[in-house]
C-alpha cells in the first residue's frame, strides 16, 4: 500500500470512485483500464486512495451494483462511475434518487441530468484490426469469437468484418459466440476448431473466454513454431498474453485497445474543473483516441500494413468511411 502524501491530503479535494462489476480491477479489461485512469487522476491530483480521495468497490453479484453505488454516495464521493453496461439500471435509479450527486457510466447511455455517459466506438477500433487481419491472412479465413451475443459485442463483430472486407473482399470471417465471458474451455475448443479448419487469425471479444483462445494458439505455436496463427487481443494491449514460453515471440498480432482510462481520466478532469457534462453522452472513437490499435502491433505487423491501417484510420476520422455498428448496418 502506498503511503499517502500527508501535506496534499486536504479534505476539500475533489474525490472520485468507481464500482466494478464482478470482474474486479484486474480483469485485464475495462475495469482495470478504468481503475488505471482513476489512479492516474488521483496521483496527479495528489489524492490518496480511500474515502475523500479515489477508490473503488468490487461487486460480487448483479445485486450488489446498487448497494455499492449507494455506498459511494454515502461516502460523499464527488463523482461516481459505474463501469460496464450492466450497471445501467442501477445508475439510472440512483441518479434519480440522488439528483445532487454526479455519476458517470461507461459503455452505456443513461439520460439523466446528473449522469455523464461514456461510450466507445468499438466498431471503429475493430475495423482497424479487421484491416490488419484482412491484409495479414494467408488463408483468407479469419475467425471472430464473441463472449455473449449482446449489442455491445455485436459492435465489435460488425466493425471487424467491415474492416476485413474493406481490404480483402475474398476473406471469409467465421463468427462464433461462446455464450459466456468466463468459459476458457469453450474459448479453447472454439479456437481449436477454427485453427484446425484453416483459420489463421482470430479476433476475440470474449473476456476470460478469450484466455482459452490464447492458450490454444500458444500451444499450437509451441508444437509447431512455423505455424502462422494469430490472435487479435481486445480492450487492452494483449501482447503479453500471447507470449510463447521459451521464445520472445507472441501470437498476438495486434490488439484493439479501448482507452477507458483516457475517458475516465478525461471526465474526471473536466468535472473537477466544473465542466461536468451531465446528461450528455460522450462517445470516444478513433478521433478522440478512445479506441485504436496497440503500439506493440509493429512487432508482428510489417510497416506497409501499418501504413494502410493509418490510411483507413484517417478515412474514418474524416468521415469518409462510416463503420457499421450492427449486423444490419453491415449488410
Amino acid at each position: 500500500k502506498e503511503e499517502p502524501k500527508k501535506e496534499e491530503g486536504k479534505a476539500s479535494e475533489f474525490s472520485i470512485a468507481m464500482v466494478t462489476d464482478v470482474g474486479g480491477i484486474d480483469d485485464k479489461s475495462f475495469n482495470q483500464s478504468a481503475w488505471e485512469g482513476l489512479q492516474k487522476f488521483g496521483e496527479e491530483n495528489g489524492l490518496k486512495k480511500g474515502k475523500g480521495g479515489y477508490d473503488y468497490l468490487q461487486s460480487q453479484s448483479d445485486a450488489d451494483y446498487a448497494t455499492n453505488l449507494n455506498k459511494l454516495v454515502r461516502n460523499d464521493f464527488d463523482l461516481i462511475y459505474g463501469i460496464g453496461y450492466l450497471m445501467t439500471d442501477a445508475i439510472t435509479e440512483i441518479a434519480e434518487q440522488k439528483p445532487d450527486n454526479k455519476f458517470a457510466i461507461v459503455d452505456s447511455v443513461v439520460e439523466k441530468p446528473n449522469v455523464a455517459s461514456i461510450t466507445f466506438k468499438e466498431h471503429e477500433g475493430s475495423f482497424l484490426v479487421g484491416v490488419v487481419a484482412g491484409l495479414m491472412t494467408k488463408t483468407n479465413k479469419i475467425g471472430f469469437v464473441g463472449g455473449m451475443e449482446i449489442p455491445l459485442i455485436e459492435k465489435f463483430e460488425s466493425g471487424f468484418i467491415a474492416g476485413v472486407k474493406a481490404v480483402n473482399p475474398n476473406a471469409k470471417v467465421e463468427v462464433q459466440y461462446a455464450g459466456a465471458f468466463d468459459k476458457a474451455d469453450k474459448g479453447k475448443a472454439i479456437a481449436s476448431s477454427m485453427y484446425a479448419s484453416g483459420i489463421d487469425i482470430i479476433y476475440h471479444a470474449a473476456g476470460g473466454t478469450g484466455n482459452g483462445v490464447f492458450s490454444e494458439a500458444i500451444d499450437l505455436k509451441k508444437q509447431d513454431p512455423n505455424k502462422e496463427i494469430w490472435v487479435i487481443g481486445v480492450d487492452r494491449d494483449q501482447y503479453e498474453e500471447g507470449k510463447v514460453p521459451g521464445t520472445d515471440k507472441s501470437v498476438t498480432l495486434t490488439s484493439m485497445v479501448k482507452r477507458v482510462d483516457v475517458a475516465v481520466y478525461d471526465l474526471a478532469t473536466k468535472t473537477k474543473n466544473g465542466n461536468f457534462p451531465g446528461g450528455q453522452a460522450v462517445e470516444y472513437g478513433l478521433k478522440e483516441d478512445g479506441v485504436g490499435i496497440a503500439p506493440t502491433t509493429k512487432n508482428n505487423v510489417p510497416e506497409d500494413v501499418l501504413k494502410k491501417v493509418d490510411e483507413w484510420k484517417q478515412k474514418i476520422i474524416n468521415g469518409e468511411v462510416k463503420v457499421p455498428t450492427t449486423r444490419a448496418e453491415l449488410q
Binding site: 464482478v22 470482474g23 474486479g24 480491477i25 484486474d26 480483469d27 468490487q58 451475443e149 467465421e174 462464433q176 459466440y177 455464450g179 468466463d182 468459459k183 476458457a184 474451455d185 469453450k186 479453447k188 475448443a189 472454439i190 481449436s192 476448431s193 477454427m194 484446425a196 479448419s197 476470460g208 484466455n211 482459452g212 490464447f214 492458450s215 500458444i218 500451444d219 499450437l220 509451441k222 508444437q223 503479453e240 498474453e241 507470449k243 514460453p245
Partner: protein, 317 residues
Amino acid sequence: MLHILEIIIPSAIFFAAPLIFTALGGVFSERSGVVNIGLEGLMVIGAFTGVVFNLTFADQFGQLTPWLAILAAMIVASIFSLMHAVAAISLRADQVVSGVAINFLALGLSLFLVKMWYGKGQTDQVQVGFDKIDIPILSKIPVIGPIFFSNGYVPSYLAIVLAFVVWYVIYKTPFGLRLRAVGEHPMAADTMGINVAKMRYIAVMLSGALAGIGGSIYATIISRDFSHATISGQGFMALAAMIFGKWHPLGAMGAALFFGFAQSLSIVGQAIPFLKNVPTVYLLILPYALTILALTGFIGRADAPKALGTPYVKGKR
C-alpha cells in the same frame, strides 16, 4: 466428415480430461460410501495450487514445473479433502452439508490468498504449460491416428489410462474389494476386520488428490491463470459424470468423454454449413439436453452404493 472428427475428438478429449480425473476421484469417495459434493471445491484448490506453484517455481524447475505443479495440487487438495473426511467420517456430519462447506471454503480461501499474495483478484498467467503432442507411432496410423493420437496433451491421455488403472484397483485388488464392501455394507466389512474409517479416509483423500489433478490441469492447460471463474461448475459436471457412469470408473470416463463430445459438437456445429442458421441457443444447450436424453433413453437407473451418505457408527443398526 473425417476432418470434422479430427476436430471434434481431440477437443472432446481435452475438454473431458479434467472431468475424468475428478470423476474418478468421486468414484473412490462415493464407492466407499462418502458423498462428495465437494468435488467442485477440491478442483478449485487444485487449480489454485497448480497455478500458484507454477508461477512461483517456473524458474527453478523449467519444463518440469507443470508436472510438479500437478503433484503439489494433488497433495494440497488431498490434505484439504481431509476436512471433509474428518467431518463426514469421524464427526458423523451430514456429508452433503460438509461437501457444500468444502465448496464455499475452497473458493473463499483461494481467492483470499490470491488477493493477499498477488494483490489482485486473479493470478498472472502461467508461462510453462503442457505441450501439445502427437503420440509417436500411434499418430501415424491412418484415419485413427489423426483423430485420436494427434494434437493432444499428455495429461489427457493419462486421464484415460488412469480410468483403466482405477478400474483395475477397484475391481481386481483386495483394496478395491474392501473399498466397495465399506460402501455397500460397512458393518459387514467391520466384522471382517476391515477398518471402515481408515478405508473411507483413504478414499476421500484419493478423491481430493484426483480432483486436485483435475483442477490443476484445467487451469494449466485451459485458463492459464486462476480467478473466481476458473472453476465454475466443472466439479458438478464431474459429479454428474460419475453418477451418469454409474459409479464405475470406465463409466465415469465414458460419461466425461460424452460431455466433451457433446460440448465440442456444439462448438463445431456452429461451423457446419447446414447448421449455420440454427439459432445459437440450440447449440449452447445441446450438451446438456443430450445428457438428459441419454440418461432417459438408454442409461436408465443407476444404483448408488448402498451405504452412500450414511456415517458408520459401530454397533448401530
